[in-house]
Symmetry: C2
Subunit: 236 residues, 2 copies
Amino acid sequence: MKKTIGVIGGMGPAATCDLMEKLVALTRASRDQEHLHVIADSNTAIPDRTAAILHGGADPTPELVKTARRLEAAGAEILIMPCNTAHFYYDAVAASVSVPVLHMPREAAAALKAAGVGCAGVLATDGAVQSGVYEKALSQAGVRAVYPSPPMQEQVMRLIYQGVKARSVPLGDIPVRDILRDLRDRGAEKFVLACTELPLAFSELGLLADCLDATRALALAAVRAAGGEPAAADPW
Amino acid sequence: MKKTIGVIGGMGPAATCDLMEKLVALTRASRDQEHLHVIADSNTAIPDRTAAILHGGADPTPELVKTARRLEAAGAEILIMPCNTAHFYYDAVAASVSVPVLHMPREAAAALKAAGVGCAGVLATDGAVQSGVYEKALSQAGVRAVYPSPPMQEQVMRLIYQGVKARSVPLGDIPVRDILRDLRDRGAEKFVLACTELPLAFSELGLLADCLDATRALALAAVRAAGGEPAAADPW
């Protein structure tokens, strides 16, 4: 019996659509009824995660928990949270429901490890970087993490917030190739797109080579956990 | 106060993602929290609509109603159904909940009328065509409807079922330009993509010119009904 996937979404809403598309693309199916049942709550009332972690912004926990419980009540049997930074609150979310919650940074770390990556360049929000959400998942998988230098990290934040979320800066105006070069200089063999807005930007820019898309890793793990037939062997 | 949109989805799941993306794209917002709250139930257990209308297949009504009620229970205040053919069951769905359900063919018809279109070529499933779902909405709006000739209608169905849903036939193998020429020959001034799989195919093929995308018309109507700030004046 296949399980219903619940998506704690809205962080941001475009990233939730991207995750949902990846669930569809990663399920082998020839008609609607062979796809998985997915309930997505794109709850845009969830406060900004980085603002909360680093700058005293409103705590996202109550809205995250409310969303998780709403999905469980609607019938979701597995939950996923397509926002890497939100995994800072993973324990509280997982404790609030009785269904399993997959862990995105751990899925990404497992995919890097399985590919034999010794050192990964992490592209993520300030909140995800400074809280150690990825550091911990990668180190548990035996993968070394490197991060952009401070001026390059500022550009990563600009890419996420102005480039994708607000669409106020053209993606081409952000020196993405310089960010990747900086990470390679620091030892990165591969990159992990550890913010769900980034696959949208990297796909548009044609820069997905050597990048592990954490959204795709999470989607593939969810298809497997729900009993769907995966359309790919790994998330690369 | 903005309203929560509920999406009766899964018909098919890729079309649900497309609708959700259009809700995001058609909302003017510079950060996550300015977007609308959307709960989507991609319920792939809903039986095939055309099979039910024309070929004695399982009745989709119970699953459609269950989905509508689940969304209402989860907090949805406006419902939309991104499947044109499913509007054959609109009255039963609308009667099953106490929140308003927008009507996709009527929204598409209103957009055609507003653009001064006198005669529209309807690209839809056999179920939507033969049940008169579009015929009725267009005639109420004073727009004349024309349909593909039988061999061309077979190609429309191939495009929907093999080209998009199953991805078993390359889109380029289907004579879409011939379908459009056939409709122009029958008097069509514009075309209405009256099956939610079609915008996916037409976008990939670069053939959206002169096409009203009913998914986009529904998304824009939903953004307005929910109190979001529309990012476009009309769905064209």
